[in-house]
Structures are given as structure tokens and as C-alpha cells.
């Protein structure tokens, strides 16, 4: 039976890397006594896979992983058992039993949305300084930025990957394409805004919080958990 598990990663655990979160869940699943399936062979491992890697420093309330289980109880029971053994900063929000034909989460991620907000330790309120540059950027036909890959730097137009960008509470909201086809990091958008505003860019001057991870076409995005049902 395949389950999809939605969780948040907040607080100081933003400094835990993606692989470490994976190992954290492997251990938590054992502590919670859930009947997870193992691969065969001499060093069996749990059959679980994560939807989207999450960079250091970012918090999120919309993370997912899929896991194969030999037996399941109920959404409520499994959530309670996991949450009882998870450290502060990681919390399971939902568990669904995946539909028969559901594809692995990793393969279907199409977008994520983010909330960019002020770093309280920084004297500058970066999101506030950038607000007036949002509309001009959205009105432009193209937004060219330098993108670094392993081997080269190249100019690319990120505009088609920005589905939405607007003021939101005290910060900035952005909905960006993500996943295996094309992936736009929120940092690049913030950096582009900073350039337009003539503000020096530092990743640590502001905070990023992922709100949700989506699947489906950009006109009809659905959270990844829509691929199954509570049980």
C-alpha cells in the first residue's frame, strides 16, 4: 500500500539538509512502529521517496514523501504515532492512501508557492524594500537572469516560470514552476528583484517559507495530497 505523507519543516530544523530529513523520517517510522516495507537484499532499506529536495535555510509547511507500507491503520492513528516521536520542527499534517494509478510524487511536482519574509536579525526589511518592484517585473515580457549550472553561467528568461508574484501580508508571495521539467528557485526571483531595486543581495538577509507543493497543469494546480484519500 502506498501512502503519501505531508509534513512541515520549521524552526531551527531549517538547517537540516534534505538527506538528513530522509534519515530522520526513516528513524521516526521505526520509532513509531509503522509497518513500512523494506527492499530485499543484504542491506534492506525502507521504500520511501521524497517529492522535492529542500535547500538548507528554507522552512516549509508543504513537504511530501511517498512510502510503501505492508499494512496501515488510519490516517489519524498513523499521524498521531509519527507526531509523538518527531522532533520539534517536523510535524505530519496529512496522510493519504494513494490512488491505484498515482505516480511517484517526485515525478509529478509541477509548482510550489513561497512566502518571502523579513529576517528579524537583519536591519534591512528586504521584502518591504522590494515590494514596489513586483509590478514592474510582472509587467515585463521577459526577466533575464544569470543562471549558474555546474559547468557554465548562462542568461535565461525566468518569466515563464513565474506563475504568480505579489505582496502578501508583510512579505511577498510567489508561485513558481518546480519539478523535474523546469525548476525555478525563489532565491533567483528575489535576486532579480534586488537587482532591479539596486539592493545588495544576500541569501541570509531574508527568509523563505514554502507553503505548498503542487501537481498538475499550471491552470489547475492541486496539492500533492489530492492524489489519494484519507483512510
Amino acid at each position: 500500500m502506498k501512502l503519501r505523507i505531508k509534513y512541515e519543516k520549521t524552526g531551527v530544523l531549517r538547517f537540516i539538509g534534505h538527506l538528513d530529513v530522509m534519515r530522520l523520517f526513516q528513524k521516526a517510522i521505526r520509532r513509531a512502529g509503522l509497518d513500512v516495507a523494506y527492499s530485499k537484499g543484504f542491506s534492506p532499506h525502507q521504500i520511501i521517496s521524497f517529492a522535492a529536495p529542500m535547500p538548507l535555510g528554507m522552512t516549509s509547511e508543504g513537504e511530501y514523501f511517498d512510502g510503501e507500507f505492508n499494512s496501515v491503520t488510519s490516517t489519524k492513528d498513523m499521524m498521531e504515532r509519527l507526531n509523538a516521536v518527531l522532533p520539534d520542527g517536523i510535524k505530519v499534517h496529512d496522510i493519504v492512501l494513494l490512488n491505484e494509478n498515482a505516480k511517484p510524487s517526485m515525478a509529478i511536482v509541477s509548482a510550489s508557492d513561497y512566502y518571502i519574509y523579513k529576517n528579524e536579525e537583519c536591519d534591512k526589511d528586504i521584502p518591504a524594500l522590494l515590494k514596489e518592484y513586483i509590478e514592474p517585473m510582472m509587467n515585463k515580457a521577459t526577466v533575464e537572469v544569470v543562471r549558474k549550472t555546474k559547468s557554465k553561467e548562462e542568461m535565461t528568461d525566468i518569466k515563464p516560470l513565474i506563475f504568480d508574484l505579489k505582496e502578501y501580508e508583510d512579505g511577498i508571495y510567489m508561485l513558481l514552476e518546480s519539478g523535474s521539467k523546469a525548476n525555478l528557485k525563489p532565491e533567483l526571483v528575489v535576486a532579480a528583484l534586488c537587482e532591479n531595486a539596486g539592493i545588495e543581495y544576500n541569501r541570509y538577509d531574508y527568509m523563505i517559507h514554502r507553503l505548498e507543493t503542487y501537481m498538475g497543469d499550471c491552470k489547475a494546480l492541486k496539492p500533492l495530497s489530492c492524489d489519494g484519500e484519507n483512510f
Binding site: G11, V12, L13, F15, I16, G17, L19, D20, R23, L24, Q26, K27, A28, I29, R30, R31, Y38, G41, F42, S43, P44, H45, L56, G57, V85, P87, D88, G89, N119, E121, C122, N202, R203, Y204, D205, M207
Partner: protein, 622 residues
Amino acid sequence: MGKLALSERILMNIEKPARYIGNEVNIVKKDLNDIDIRFAVCFPDVYEIGMSYLGIQILYDFFNRRSDTYCERVYSPWPDLDKIMREENIKLFSLETQTPVSEFDWLGITIQYEMCYTNILQVIELSGIPLYAKDRKKGDTFVIGGGPCTVNPEPLADFFDMFYIGEGEVSYNEILELYKVYKESNMEREEFLRKASRIPGVYVPSLYEVSYNEDGTVRAINPIYDDVPEKIKWQAVMDFDNVPYPMKPVVPYIRATQDRVTLEIMRGCIRGCRFCQAGMIYRPTRQKNVNMLKEYARIMLDNTGYEEISLSSLSSSDYEKLDELLSFLIELRDNDHVNVSLPSLRIDAFSLDVMSKVQDIKKSSLTFAAEAGTQRLRDVINKGITEENIIKGSHDAFLGGWDKVKLYFMMGLPTETDEDLLGIAELAEKISEEYFDTVPKEKRNGRVMINASSSYFVPKPFTPFQWAPMITPEEYTRRAYFVKDAFARQRNKKSLKFQYHDAEITVLEGVLARGDRRLGKVLYDVYKKGAIYDAWTEFFDMNRYKEAFDENDVDINFYITRERADDEIFPWEHLDVGVSRRFLLNEWHNAKAGVVTPNCRQKCSGCGAAVYKGGVCFEAKN
């Protein structure tokens, strides 16, 4: 979740910020209002190494069982953060509450190897505690050292208020009770130390005076007051089954070097290899009850969620209930998907059978700690493994499907000749020949691989070799090349590999291991020249040490290449680890004569450890 000691800007600019954020699974949280004593335990190396070390988890658990004490962890900041902390004047902090260490009552540092000495200075200084113990006042943190290197802590004597000689679980309660009296009264720091020096196992270096002979050797080590004990006795846990064990070890987020449950099955070793310090100072050998171990294993796996378990001891094959324990582990593996790792098993039919059940034969290799290349030299070091054992073990393993063998050696052992060195290559060759004799052509897939690796011998205090000379770095290098050449001449050279270490670090280890108080200044100077993480080849710089030795007029050959006279007074003469000087000297003479000594189960050799009244010394009589 509280605030972190480091800012977002710093954490996002250093490697692996998770080293510094605490909040791991199973950490202990306490209300500071209920606490009288704050104790920071430190492993002076990087987080991933320190978190792998069982001893810290034992102490952490032990101190936190006291309701009046809150024990937190500290590790050495990595050089990237070290630099930032110095530039920005940030004090070293504990992981649990992210509090500066200087606000703690105690900083307890475990001293596991000589090459971490500069990291110890780093930790004390970054904590904002005066580096020299003599400069600390009432209200300053007490710095206490523990661990195997404290059997000769003299090079570090200036930096510690006290050392705890022995196994941690024994006298600490007494120390802390006395400390509470000190803290709540107007007792002076000196008075506290003097009182503490009477607690078994406590060594307060400032209460001892060392005088030297003209030739530089120690003349005498005497307490400066009558009520300070002349000898400090190593403390051993004798009620080994009932000593508290960390059932809920802290589980790191980032991958530690040992990412698994560790089960200590036995302390000490019956074998008596003459180079091995652990085998001498942890005498007598004590075993844990097998049923208790099974229960511990289950509880710890449940509490941590680890998917792997490993046994810890100096020589697991000597654990008497090993069969029963291993069947249990195999069951765990089959039913609960727990990987089992089995270090320090002697290779024989039984262990091969077990290993074939828990590991992938094709991917794993067998390990023989041969230590020396000829039987003559193995007799000198009292290593009870013969060429026949190794060939027979390899033969059985090849039949079982293994085709990788690892061999460990030491170069520079006392009395070593070129013939012994040649023996290293020849033994590797013989094992490869055994493979070709054992495994028919059609069954060979791929090539047999014999990986020999060699470290250099370092004489350690409280071993029979504490009298032995070390060879020079140049001679080490010559021997390494000699062996390398010998490997290149073997018939099956394509199946053989030989690796060796850097000689310079070994030489320093040798200087510090048997060093005296005069080296304190050298350490201070080396540290001030920027040395930290000397155990890491990428940070180690021999020139800093060379300069500091020169500036302080220290001739390192005095410490390394000199053979000690039988009656020389050692810098650690005022410490007593149970094993007697008479026994060790006798063993040194036996070594030079090539006479072997039976292990504790074959025949007691009256080493002196029977004073602890337990363990193997009394096994047969129970």
C-alpha cells in the same frame, strides 16, 4: 524551540550548520530553575566524530540522572566557524540551551587521542575560560579531563583544574556533592581542589611538584601538601551489570561516523598485546550479562529508530556468550530489518558462518589484525595470532565466497628488522596464493584483493613498551618504502595493495603520549601559531610544531628515540592504573626475549589488576 547562538548569516555561511543547532532526538531538556550544577561535556573534535563516541553518551546520561545537574554537549567548532567566532568575538556555546560554556560550572573534556590536544585549547579559549588553570578564579568554570589519555595527562597539566583518572561512572557524584558545598559557601577555589584531590581518581595537577634530573628525566613527583595523596588510583566500574547505560542515546540529524546503536558487551581485553594501552588500562576484563544486552539492544533500537547495531569491545570473540548474542542479532536482522556490524571478530568457521548471514560476502572483506610480518615479532608483541590461523581463516573464507582480505600491521615495533618488514609482503602473497589454491579457476569472479595497511607503532604509558624507543621519521619512511618495494616484487602483486600513513603525525603522537609538563608551553605556542584539528591531515602542519620545539629548546628525540632505563621515573609515575610496574617491566623483558605470556583465561600472570576484585581475575572461581 529557543533561539540559536549563531545568526542566520553565520549559519548560512558555514559547512553543515546542523552541527551547531542541537535539538536532536532524545536530548535532555530541563528547567534551569531546578538546577544547581551545569555541566558541559565536550569531545574536542568535530560533531560527527564526537557524536559517534559512546563515552560521551554514557556521561551525558549519567549526569542527567541527577535531578540537580543539567549536562549539555559541546564539540569543537570546525575551522570555518572557528575563524568567524574569533573575528566576531562569539563565545563557544552548548548545544542544548545554546548557552556560553563560560556560564557552566564544569567543562568536562574527554581526551581520546593526543592529536586533539590543540582542539582542547581551542575549546577552552573559545569558551572564554582562562586557558591556564592558574588564572581561573572563584566563579570561573572548572575544567576537568577524562578518558584514556589521562593516564599521562602531563602535557596538558597546565590547562586543567583536575583530571579524572578512570571510568567516569565511579566518583563523579562525590565530586559534584563537594562542588555544591564550594559553590554555596565562601570556600576558595584552591581549598576545593585540595579537598577534591582526596576523592578516589581525582588528580589535581597543580597540587604536585615535578623535579627533573640533569639529563632531563624526572627525578620525583610529589604532592605539595601532606593531605594530598601520593598516588592517584584509576577507578574501574566493577558492578558492570548495574552501571547505568544510555538507553536513549541522542540521535544526530547529520550522519555521524557511527550512525547506529552501539552495544558495549565487554570492557578490557584478556589478550595482553604489549603495544596496546587499552588492553592494559581497562583491566580486568569485565563482561555484560547476555540477557541484559539483548534487552538493551531492543530498547535502544526502539528509542532511536536506528537501522543498524554494532557490538563494541576490544575483542568480541572473547565474549563468552557470543553465540547466544549473535543468534539474537541474526534474528533481529531477519525479523526487524536491523543491519548488524561485527567488528573485532576473530576469523574462524563460526564467525564466518555468522558473517555470511549478516553481510554481503561479495561486498565485504575480512580483517586480520596481524600487526607484524613474522612469528618472531608477533611473539615480541604478544599478539596471539599465527600465520597458520591467518592462512586457515583465509582458506575458509575463500571457500565461503569471500575474495577480499584486509590486513593491519604496525611498522617500527621494538626489535623490528628488515626481515620482519619483508614478512608483511610475504604474508600478503601467501594469502593470495592460498586463494588460487583454494578457489578453482571457473569459480573465480574478479580478482582476489589483499589490502595491507600499516600504521606506525607509538609506545604508550602503562604498556610494556613504555620503555621502548621509537624510530625517527626518516627511518619510518625508509621502512615504508622498503615494504612497498617488497610488495612490488611479489608474484601476485596485482592482487596486493599496501598503504601506509604519514610518519610526522605519528612522531608527534609519540612525543605527546610520553611527554611531561614541559610540553605544556610547546602546546600553548603551537596553538597560538594557529594549530587546531591536528588529527586531520588537511589542517596539520608539522612546521608549527618544529618551530615551537625549537623556540622552547625541546629536543624531540629525548621523548621519542631514547630507550628508557628500567628504573627511570616516568612523568606518569604518580598514577596507578592497577597493572603494576613490576608486571609491565617483566613483560618488557619478555618482549625483548621473544617470550609470550598466556592470556588471562589460560593463566593469570598476576598483573596487579586483581586489586579491583572482579572481572576475569575471578571468573573461574565463581
